[in-house]
Symmetry: C2
Subunit: 374 residues, 2 copies
């Protein structure tokens, strides 16, 4: 175990990277997928299951946790790790993104953003300083700067204004983060789909200096092609010796193609949210398990997997559970999807180590295609 927060780049294969983020809470093998534990729980999973699928780190949402149970209360209860019984690293977002998507009566100024809770209408303020304070109270291992994320489509002016504000907030966040040995603070590259703005943002952040760099403002409606293009023009401006985190992404294919473009870390609600809605991500592509064709299918989700979430229960049983609105249906599919995402990440890590990422990519895509004929 280490006392400090660090990143080792172990191997590259083309632009794809194999690394390890070291923290006192444990190591994060990259490329890594971080299951989202929005409100202090990865929905419908036990933390033991999350760990056992191979996840090294989970994500918590500052917006949700500041409203309920509240940052000061979580601190009083011993911090988020102890409260939710997850002893590995936790990354928290800044809360900014969800303020803009969930809260009511938002008002954004240079100082920060004021809003009303979507739960009870109570008034709150989130500034770079308060966001960092909340994340510290939660005990977060990786804390994200407050930023402003523009949607899609956006004007260049909007993207520029938000990027510049995000840079000023990056400096204030970094200052507020202060000295927290063993913890990391990540800056967030903004700039919409404008290449020069992304470069300017990256350079500004590097000048401030962070333990890692995120690419924000993607997966907001621009589509996969523009997303990948933006990664391609942004990644080269990021330091090779720090982890790179693509926020809020994505589908298994998004992960594969983004790792190919040099991304190290991901988070997304997709595996759990889809799992609660009857969708399974598997080695053989996506299944809508509600579909009548699964009603008498005795095969498990993936007979080639060694994981109980994927190989133990028949599609027929999960189909029945989902049709009958049983909680166990959501539990099994959420678990299976997280297990598959982690299998995919493990596969990518091995492939980069072995120097055959391109083969792995082709095989993986070909397996996804096969499923369509089943």
């Amino acid at each position: 175990m280490t006392d400090t927060f660090s990143f080792d780049l172990l191997k590259t294969d083309g632009v794809a990277r194999r690394g390890v983020v070291k923290t006192p809470r444990g190591n994060i093998q990259t490329p890594a997928f971080m299951p989202v534990g929005t409100q202090g729980t990865v929905k419908a999973l036990y933390m033991d299951q999350v760990k056992e699928t191979g996840a090294d780190i989970i994500l918590g949402n500052t917006y949700h946790l500041m409203l309920r149970p509240g940052a000061e209360r979580v601190a009083k209860l011993g911090g988020l790790h102890d409260l939710i019984k997850w002893d590995g690293p936790i990354l928290t977002d800044s809360g900014g993104f969800q303020v803009m998507s969930l809260a009511k009566l938002r008002k954004l100024t240079e100082h920060g953003v004021t809003f009303q809770s979507h739960i009870d209408g109570s008034k709150h303020e989130l500034t770079p300083e308060r966001s960092m304070e909340i994340q510290r109270l939660l005990g977060s291992t990786i804390q994200m700067q407050l930023d402003e994320c523009v949607g899609f489509p956006h004007t260049r002016d909007d993207a520029k204004r938000a990027m510049e504000l995000s840079l000023r907030w990056a400096q204030r966040s970094r200052t507020a983060f202060g000295d927290q040995p063993g913890h990391g603070c990540f800056g967030i590259v903004q700039g919409g789909i404008q290449e020069d703005l992304r470069e300017q943002s990256a350079k500004g952040l590097i000048e401030i200096g962070f333990e890692g760099y995120a690419i924000g403002g993607l997966a907001v409606g621009e589509g996969q092609e523009l997303m990948l293009q933006t990664i391609e023009v942004t990644a080269p401006h990021l330091p090779t010796d720090k982890p790179r985190y693509l926020m809020g992404v994505g589908t298994p294919e998004d992960l594969l193609l983004s790792v190919e473009r040099g991304i190290d870390m991901f988070d997304c609600v997709m595996p759990t949210r889809s799992g609660r809605h009857g969708q399974a991500f598997t080695r053989f592509g996506k299944l809508n398990i509600r579909n009548a064709k699964h009603a008498e299918d005795l095969r498990p989700l993936d007979e080639t997997s060694n994981h109980p979430a994927l190989n133990k229960y028949s599609r027929a049983y999960i189909h029945h559970l989902v049709r009958a609105n049983e909680i166990l249906g959501m539990m099994l599919l959420s678990w299976a999807n997280i297990a598959y995402y982690q299998e995919l990440m493990a596969g990518m890590r091995s492939a980069i180590e072995a120097g055959n990422f391109q083969n792995f990519k082709q095989q993986t895509i070909s397996d996804w295609q096969k499923g369509k004929t089943q």
Copy 2:
């Protein structure tokens, strides 16, 4: 392992009985609580958890399973055990009770009952013969006769008519059950709260002969006192060498007081249903975990328990999960309640073995009281 279905009465303490039902699927230590797996799942629990709490047997509902996925489909898929991944004994009810409480346009005749599905309005018929056929298709270890259960209050005439019909259906059910080595068929004593009708029902059933005898028609609104009185006047008429099953009961106190009156088996949705609604049953009484007083309580549900469902998570965390409508809140409380119910049953079994059931009963009631002052 045994090839046959049998019951051994191991010990009595007063009227309380300690026994074991032996089946090819495994032994059922009695007094036993059977978690209810309505639609092929004990709601919000993994079967591994159900097993590990100490449950030897679960219950499945014929009404639900005949409608979805359907008895013939379950048989085609290898039977209920294989479908749901529970290898221990399963008891199925006859479906009659839920036809009367859930289905639409019910019509009861001497032949059986016709009804429309509450799911899709499709028309079905349940006769003693069809109920037994469905239970056989499901692969049920203990199959219940079709009966008619009168509600409360009821007239003596109603109770008499339903009891007599149930006796005729008992004979038809027994005949339809046929020869199924290793499986048991249970008759159901009816007769409302009328002592002589209960006696008449019990005698009629014994004349037909069953592997076990259930007391039906209780926990339908008559209250605990009348329920216990009815058990007291019924149990003496049941054979001592067969298991006695009190259907659909109950609270922890109901279980304790019914075991004291000679009952061996129970089922109830209470632990899981209450768990989904924020209620915890513990050694120290019932907790409404939504209550604000739990918001910063770092104690687990029961610090004296060795079970992770009861000792691992703080009340503060479960309170948060329940308030935030998180599935994990329902998972944890359902699991904890089943664990507590099984701990209670194990305690009663040990107490009867040791010949100190009365002490155990007093201590248990006193512990429940203590919780109220916490």
